[in-house]
Amino acid sequence: MHAWAATQTQCGQTRWAVYMTADRQWFVDIYERHYDAVLRYAWRRVGPDDAADVVAETFTIAWRRLRDVPEDMPLPWLYGVARNLIANRRRKDRRRGVPDAFDAGVYLVEPDHAEALGRRDAALAALHDLSDDDREIVRLIAWEGLTTAETAVVLGCSAAAATVRLHRARRRIEKLMSAKLEEVAS
């Protein structure tokens, strides 16, 4: 018997039982709807070997803290949890001297044209050279497809701060990419 069901039996109230069922169903809906998105989020940051573990930990936390999951924006909240989990893992790895070795670029399919290949290499190199904070906001917008309002939820900052951080990160990645493209051209 599930632990939550035992609690339900001890309480013995209809309202309680209805609530528990609705809550559980709501969680399962979120899980099924957003599992792939959270998996891709983790995959981009830790690679294929550890991504599924990060997702499982993320949803375990969501289940334990169901009260905190926003009804209107569960996905950015889940990204925020995954982000913290990954940051904790990295801290532990660094303490143990494990290098941060995952390079997402090796999994990309080679483009057909030299120009496209040049742009792709320049984009990835520019992304690599950004600070951690800039890289995160840029990926959230470009690859997770979030709006700036949703990005603020993930980063735990005000919408105003997210807007200005995005603007600055955008300027920096443009500058880096322009320099990388010039390098390729010369």
Binding site: W43, A52, R67, T163, H167, R168
Partner: protein, 350 residues
């Protein structure tokens, strides 16, 4: 004009290494089963049991349906609702633009006036600017949209080392109907926009914008500098994009004139004549129709006809909304440039 989000997406589009990643379904199901063997936090259940989620959802769904049919009637539905379309700012009353020699001449005349202005920017070490704007991308979340337009006002102070301060808050809301405004007033004008914020940034935190004092004022050299953006925009679109980052800053007359001359020389701009911007200021409007950002859009920039200073810029979707929850035509963003200058401290204004 592209938003920062559009540009970032454009730079990295097609380079997502996880594009094709999908769940291993048996693994996903096993993980779910393992998670559900635990109870949700008791604290969570205790707090929510008198307001079950299914009930909240039913209320929201009913309210959304009512809103869609009869318009806005109550505040909880004003700020964020599940209506199918976002309420966007009203369109400016613009004349049909004229192109070619007339537009080029109007921009060159404006450039000449800008170059004749006295330099009143000052020489403080801190760059101050104030804008007010509304941006669709900041308004829409994945599932909720806004039914009232609440612009954001932002003041910014940036020191030479990139440290600085940003003071932001909600501007005056715009309601699509008189009834919705009356309801808001009846309820005591509760706040609708994002909360006020006062963020401080350390060295480098606000760096990134070009140093306007180092930009060349020779049009050809300036064009080369502005085109170094790494975006794949072409022609006047790349100029508008790059200049969009400059208009909020205090610009000296020679640079102001050079920026206008570049737009004139592009030959792509339309001239839409006198207009008042959203702050009620008299200006002249110029347009650029383009679809380099993925959807057909019209960029509108309004200049003060006496000084050549940029008063505002905005983007209008003209033909196809794509996946955006808006009608056609719709304003998708606007920025009012409300003031700028050089000051000596993070609390000073020009």
């Amino acid at each position: 004009m592209k938003t920062d989000a559009d540009i970032v997406r454009g730079l990295l589009a097609g380079h997502d290494p996880a594009r094709a990643v999908r769940a291993d379904v048996p693994e996903r199901e096993r993980a779910l089963e393992a998670i559900l063997t635990e109870p949700p936090a008791v604290d969570s259940v205790t707090r929510k049991r008198w307001r079950p989620r299914w009930r909240t959802m039913a209320v929201v769904a009913t309210a959304a349906a009512a809103t869609a049919i009869v318009g806005l009637t109550a505040l909880p539905q004003l700020r964020t609702t599940h209506v199918s379309r976002v309420t966007t700012p009203p369109l400016l009353e613009l004349k049909q633009p004229v192109y070619g020699a007339a537009a080029t001449k109007a921009l060159r005349d404006l450039a000449a006036r800008a170059e004749r202005q006295p330099d009143t920017i000052g020489h403080g070490r801190v760059v101050y600017s104030k804008i007010q704007g509304w941006y669709l991308d900041s308004t829409v979340s994945r599932r909720r949209t806004s039914a009232v337009v609440v612009p954001r006002t932002e003041e910014q102070w940036v020191a030479p080392d990139g440290s600085g301060r940003q003071l932001a808050g909600a501007g005056r809301p715009w309601f699509p109907t008189a009834k919705s405004r009356q309801e808001w007033e009846r309820q005591g004008r509760p706040p609708l926009g994002a909360r006020d914020s006062d963020d401080r940034f350390g060295p480098g935190g606000l760096s990134g914008d070009p140093d306007v004092d180092k930009l060349p004022t020779d049009p050809a050299a300036l064009r080369r500098e502005l085109e170094k953006s790494g975006t794949d925009l072409k022609g006047a679109a790349v100029l508008l994009e790059a200049e969009g980052d400059l208009w909020r800053q205090p610009l000296r007359p020679a640079l102001q004139g050079a920026l206008l001359r570049l737009l004139a020389d592009s030959g792509e701009m339309g001239y839409a004549g006198p207009v008042r911007d959203r702050a009620g200021r008299a200006g002249v409007a110029f347009t650029l129709d383009q679809n380099q950002t993925g959807l057909p859009e019209r960029d509108v920039i309004i200049f003060d006809r006496r000084t050549g200073r940029a008063l505002s810029e905005e983007t209008i979707l003209t033909k196809d909304p794509g996946k955006l929850p808006v009608r056609i035509p719709s304003v998708t963003s606007y920025t009012l440039f409300l003031g700028s200058g050089r000051v000596d401290g993070m609390n000073e204004r020009p």
